[in-house]
């Protein structure tokens, strides 16, 4: 290949790369324009994003039942996004699960697993979770995006009307903060 031929090919490929980059940027900007609500930081006072997640039964297999917020109106819901490899999650989930026993039917802890469904089921059924009550569901890919899960445990407390009341982004303090938030909501008339 001559110098000129190589340069021509390089220039053409360079233009193709520039077009490719521009197209990718355009696709992302169009998506952003249509999904501003997904990107807006989740804060107290905002309506909770929709969830429709499969409940995991024995062996991590879906039971066919699904968890939706619409179906839990009138009840306080604590969503915890977690994974089986996450140490702080494995500390906060039993704590929230045991608190849920005291809350009775007025509040529910929904554990949204982000990794291995079978391992998650085994953890929830194991000794660490003795005395805890949680509903185990699997993330569908969108829920973690809608709730802007960056670090885990990511805990969100949703009131009886489906409004976010607390967001705990990572750290061991999230569970304690969620417990206090639920207690305040349950104490309110």
């Amino acid at each position: 290949m001559t110098d000129q031929a190589a340069r021509r090919r390089g220039r053409r490929a360079g233009v193709a790369i520039a077009l490719l980059a521009a197209a990718t940027l355009l696709v992302n900007l169009v998506w952003i324009a249509g999904h501003v609500d997904w990107l807006r930081p989740l804060e107290a006072g905002r309506p909770a994003p929709v969830v429709d997640l499969p409940v995991l039964g024995a062996g991590g297999a879906p039971t066919g039942e699904r968890v939706t917020l619409a179906g839990r109106r009138g009840k306080v819901v604590v969503l915890e996004f977690w994974a089986t490899w996450c140490g702080p999650c494995k500390a906060s989930l039993p704590r929230l699960g045991r608190a849920a026993r005291q809350w009775g039917d007025a509040a529910e802890v929904v554990a949204v697993n982000l990794d291995d469904r079978a391992l998650a089921r085994a953890f929830v059924d194991g000794d660490t979770m003795r005395g805890a009550r949680v509903t185990l569901v699997a993330d569908d890919g969108d829920a973690a995006s809608r709730y802007q899960v960056g670090t885990i445990p990511h805990v969100v407390v949703i009131d009886r009307d489906g409004v976010v009341r607390m967001v705990g982004r990572g750290g061991a303090a999230a569970a304690a903060e969620a417990e206090r938030a639920v207690a305040r909501l349950l104490a309110a008339p």
Binding site: A21, A22, P41
Partner: protein, 175 residues
């Protein structure tokens, strides 16, 4: 193409294009001592381009969280975007450089071998850009799936592996 003939000639995009369409010429250019370090700069620029155009959503989300909540909460999302853009290329260059150096025999020169590795690493960076565009248009955000991801990985490794072989030949031709 002689390195001297195009040294200082082609711009960044053309050098990126050369790495894909005329890799021998790109490698000769990168191996020129007069252009030392430029290939590494090109790889860095390419990674920044991919970060901006392929991870725009994550960057916007992180910036918004940083402004509305805190930098501490925005940090993981920002780091995920940066590592998503950089990891494939950087891991490849870390592996390719010693391979080129070892195979160059007595003509090895770690700095120049690194430049050659950076040329080969432009391939996985480009493939990741194509994969992002395909995933976000053809698959409606559902992702490529395990088969698609394996295909992307094999394409990137095969293509950049071939360029690494050319890089070894280039290094062995040094005077």
């Amino acid at each position: 193409m002689s390195a001297r003939a195009i040294a200082g000639g082609p711009g960044f995009l053309e050098r990126w294009g050369l790495a894909l369409a005329a890799p021998r010429a790109a490698l000769r250019l990168a191996d020129d001592p007069a252009a030392s370090g430029r290939a590494a700069g090109d790889l860095l620029r390419a990674i920044v381009v991919v970060l901006i155009v392929a991870h725009t959503r994550e960057l916007v989300a992180a910036a918004w969280i940083a402004g509305a909540v805190s930098w501490r909460d925005a940090w993981p999302g920002l780091m995920r975007a940066v590592s998503g853009a950089a990891m494939f290329g950087l891991v490849f260059v870390v592996v390719a450089t010693p391979v080129v150096s070892l195979c160059a025999g007595a003509r090895r020169h770690l700095g120049r071998d690194f430049d050659l590795g950076c040329v080969a690493a432009l391939v996985p960076v480009t493939v990741s850009l194509v994969a992002t565009l395909v995933a976000r248009t053809a698959f409606a955000d559902g992702g490529l799936g395990p088969t698609g991801r394996a295909l992307v990985l094999l394409t990137a490794l095969g293509w950049s592996g071939a360029i690494t072989a050319l890089a070894i030949a280039e290094a062995r031709r040094r005077s």
